[in-house]
C-alpha cells in the first residue's frame, strides 16, 4: 500500500502539470475579457492599453510559463519568507496578481478561507454527520415511515435548487420573523459569547441551505449501499451465528457499505474549497465561491487559474485518499 501511495504521488506531478496547462489553455480560449465589465464610455484604445498593462499582449506560452514561475517558485518563496522572516533574494519577485484587484491572488484566497470554512466546511461536516445515521436507519428499516419521510425530504432537498431555498429562507426568517440577518458580516470577530451567538446566527441560514442539499445526496448513497450489503450472505450467516444485531449493522454492514460513501465524500471535500457559488452569493458570505465566480465573470485569468489549480490539487489528493481508504475498508482490494 505504501509503495502504491508513493507511486501515485509521483504520478500526480505530471498529471497536475498537464491539468494546469489544459486549464490555462481553456481560460485563454474562453471568449470573455477583463475589460468586459467596464462602462462603454471607456474608449477602445484605452481598453487596448489596459489589456497590454495586464500582460495580455504577450504570447500564450510566455504567459503560461510566467504563471508557472510565479506559482511554483515565487509564491512558495514568499510564503517561506513570511513564515520564517528570512530574506531570500532582493524581495522584488513578481507575485501572481489578480487582474481585477491588482493585488496578490494568494492574499485574496487567504482572506476568503475563514468564511468558506465556517459556512461551507461546517455544512459539509454536518451533512456527513447527519446523513450516515439517516442512511443506515432508512436502509435497515426499508419502507418504514422513517425511510419514506427520509426519501421524500432528501429528494425534495436535492431537487429544489439552492437559489430557491435561499430566497425562501430569507423571506421567512429575515424578513417576516427577523430572526437571522440576510447579509453575512465578514468583518465580524468572535471574541466572547455574544459575538459567538451572532456568528451562529449569521451562519444559520446558509449552513441550513447547504446542509440540506449535501445531506440529501450522501444519505441516498449510504442507504443504497447499506441495502446492498444487508442482503449479503455474510449477514445471514452472522445472524444465524447469533451475533448481536447492532454489531452486524455497525461493524460489518456499515464498514462494507462505506466504499461508495467514501467516494462521494472524497469528491465532496475538495468542493468545500471551491465554495458554494450560489449560496455564497445569496447570503453575501463572499467566500471562495464568490471570489471564483466574480473572477470568472471578469475574466481574471490569474485568479481563476490559481484557484482552479489548487482545486485540482485537492481533487487529485482526495481521490488518492479515497483509493487508499478502499484498501483499508476492504482488504481484498489490491492495487499492486
Amino acid at each position: 500500500m505504501f509503495n502504491y501511495t508513493l507511486r501515485r504521488l509521483l504520478f500526480a506531478i505530471p498529471t497536475l502539470l498537464v491539468i494546469s496547462f489544459i486549464i490555462f489553455a481553456l481560460l485563454d480560449l474562453a471568449p470573455n475579457d477583463p475589460t468586459g465589465e467596464l462602462p462603454l464610455t471607456i474608449p477602445p484604445e484605452v481598453r487596448e492599453q489596459i489589456r497590454a498593462s495586464l500582460g495580455l499582449d504577450q504570447p500564450f506560452f510566455i504567459r503560461y510559463l510566467l504563471w508557472m514561475q510565479q506559482f511554483f517558485i515565487n509564491e512558495p518563496l514568499n510564503l517561506l519568507e513570511k513564515m520564517t522572516g528570512w530574506q531570500i533574494g532582493d524581495g522584488s519577485r513578481m507575485r501572481i496578481l489578480s487582474w481585477a484587484t491588482r493585488s496578490p491572488v494568494v492574499d485574496l484566497i487567504v482572506e476568503r478561507l475563514p468564511q468558506t470554512l465556517w459556512v461551507v466546511g461546517l455544512s459539509y461536516l454536518l451533512a456527513v454527520i447527519i446523513s450516515i445515521p439517516i442512511g443506515v436507519i432508512s436502509a435497515y428499516k426499508q419502507y418504514s415511515i422513517f425511510d419514506q419521510i427520509g426519501t421524500f425530504v432528501s429528494m425534495v432537498g436535492f431537487s429544489v435548487p439552492t437559489f430557491f431555498t435561499g430566497v425562501v429562507l430569507i423571506v421567512i426568517f429575515s424578513s417576516w420573523l427577523q430572526w437571522f440577518p440576510s447579509v453575512y458580516d465578514t468583518n465580524h470577530q468572535v471574541t466572547d459569547f455574544a459575538s459567538l451567538m451572532f456568528q451562529i446566527k449569521q451562519m444559520a441560514l446558509p449552513v441550513i441551505v447547504l446542509t440540506l442539499y449535501n445531506t440529501s445526496q450522501i444519505a441516498r448513497f449510504v442507504r443504497a449501499s447499506m441495502l446492498d450489503n444487508l442482503n449479503q450472505d455474510y449477514v445471514r450467516t452472522a445472524r444465524a451465528k447469533g451475533v448481536k444485531e447492532n454489531i452486524i449493522l455497525l461493524v460489518h454492514v456499515l464498514r462494507n457499505s462505506l466504499i461508495p460513501v467514501v467516494t462521494v465524500i472524497a469528491l465532496g471535500v475538495p468542493t468545500i474549497f471551491s465554495g458554494a457559488i450560489i449560496t455564497e452569493q445569496i447570503f453575501r458570505v463572499n467566500g471562495l465561491g464568490q471570489l471564483l465566480i466574480t473572477a470568472i465573470q471578469g475574466a481574471d485569468i490569474p485568479l481563476v487559474q490559481t484557484l482552479t489549480f489548487i482545486f485540482a490539487v485537492l481533487i487529485v489528493l482526495f481521490n488518492l485518499i479515497a483509493d487508499v481508504l478502499y484498501g483499508i475498508l476492504d482488504p481484498r482490494i489490491r492495487y499492486d
Partner: protein
C-alpha cells in the same frame, strides 16, 4: 452449430426472467406509484397542450401577475404569460434534457467506471482523466464549447435542436465523473469477491462476467446516480439559461421558471410552487422507479 446452441439455450430462461422481474417490480408499491406519476407527468406535458391550448409565449400585458382563474388555472407571470402553458411547455424541454443528459452521463460514467475498475492497466489513465474533468472550471469550459460549436450546430440542426444537442452534450460530459468514481469503487470491491473468481476460473468471457455479475452488483449506486442526475441536469440547464448559455429566453423550462419566479415569491407564490413541485415530483417518481428496478434486478432477491 455453436451459434445455434448459445442462441437457443438462454432463450426460455430469458423470457421468464423478464416476467420474473416484472413480477418483482409489481410487488413494489412505491415503484408502481412512481411509474404512474411519471407516466402522468409525461402525458401531461405532451398531451396537455392539446387540452390547454393557450400559446405559452402569448403575451397579455393587461393580465399580468394574476392569481389562478378559469382562463389561467395557474395564474400568469409579470409579462402576462399563462403559467400552466409555460409549465407544460417547460416540462417537455426539462424532461427531455434531464433524461437524455442523465442517460448520457450515466452511460459515460458507468463505462469509464467499469473499465477502470475492472481492467487494471486502464485504471490509472482513466482516473487521471476523471481528475482532469473534475478540475476543469465549468463556466469557461461552457463558454468555449458554445463559442466553438453553437453556430455549426445551429446551421446543421436549426436553432432549437442545435441548442438541445449542445446542452445535453455539455451537461453529459461535465457530470459523468461522480458516477465513474462511484462505480469504479464498487467494481473494485465486487471484483475481488469469490463468485467473480469462480466465474473467471470457469472460463466465462470477460464481458459476460461484467454484464452478468459485475453490473447487477453495482446497480444500486448507478440508480442513485441516475435519480440525482435527473435533478441536477434540470437545475444545471436552468443555470445555463440564465447565464445566457442555454436555450433562448422564449423557451421556458422548469428550472428557469423557478429561477425567474423566485423574486416574485411574495407577489405570486404559484410562480414558484408549481415548477418546484414539478421538478420534485419528477425526481421523486424516478427515485421510486429506480428503487423498484434495482430491487427487481437484484440477483439475491431473485434467488429468494
Amino acid at each position: 452449430m455453436t451459434d445455434a446452441t448459445t442462441a437457443a439455450a438462454p432463450q426460455p430462461p430469458a423470457r421468464s426472467l423478464t416476467r420474473e422481474i416484472w413480477g418483482q417490480f409489481r410487488k413494489h408499491t412505491g415503484g408502481l406509484i412512481g411509474l404512474c406519476v411519471f407516466i402522468f407527468i409525461v402525458l401531461a406535458v405532451f398531451v396537455g397542450p392539446y387540452i390547454h391550448t393557450i400559446d405559452p409565449n402569448k403575451i397579455d400585458i393587461r393580465a399580468k401577475n394574476q392569481g389562478p382563474s378559469v382562463l389561467h388555472p395557474l395564474g400568469t407571470d409579470n409579462l402576462g404569460h399563462d403559467m400552466l402553458a409555460q409549465i407544460l411547455a417547460g416540462g417537455r424541454i426539462s424532461l427531455a434534457v434531464g433524461i437524455t443528459a442523465m442517460l448520457l452521463s450515466l452511460v459515460l460514467g458507468t463505462l469509464v467506471g467499469v473499465i477502470s475498475g475492472y481492467i487494471k492497466k486502464l485504471d490509472g489513465p482513466l482516473m487521471r482523466l476523471t481528475d482532469l474533468f473534475l478540475a476543469l472550471p465549468l463556466l469557461p469550459l461552457l463558454l468555449v464549447i458554445i463559442m466553438l460549436f453553437r453556430d455549426t450546430l445551429r446551421a446543421a440542426f436549426g436553432p432549437e435542436t442545435g441548442i438541445f444537442i449542445l446542452i445535453v452534450f455539455v451537461i453529459g460530459i461535465t457530470s459523468w465523473m461522480h458516477t465513474a468514481r462511484i462505480v469504479r469503487g464498487d467494481v473494485l470491491a465486487v471484483k475481488s469477491q469469490e463468485f467473480i473468481l469462480a466465474a473467471k476460473s470457469s472460463g466465462m468471457r470477460e464481458w459476460r462476467i461484467v454484464l452478468r455479475h459485475i453490473l447487477p452488483n453495482v446497480m444500486s449506486s448507478i440508480m442513485v446516480s441516475a435519480t440525482l442526475g435527473i435533478a441536477s441536469a434540470i437545475i444545471t440547464e436552468s443555470a445555463l439559461s440564465f447565464l445566457g448559455l442555454g436555450f433562448p429566453s422564449d423557451f421556458p423550462t422548469w428550472g428557469r421558471l423557478l429561477f425567474d419566479g423566485a423574486n416574485f415569491l411574495q407577489i405570486n407564490p404559484s410562480r414558484v410552487i408549481w415548477p418546484g413541485l414539478a421538478i420534485s415530483l419528477t425526481v421523486l417518481s424516478v427515485n421510486y422507479l429506480g428503487d423498484a428496478v434495482r430491487d427487481a434486478l437484484d440477483p439475491r432477491m431473485l434467488k429468494r
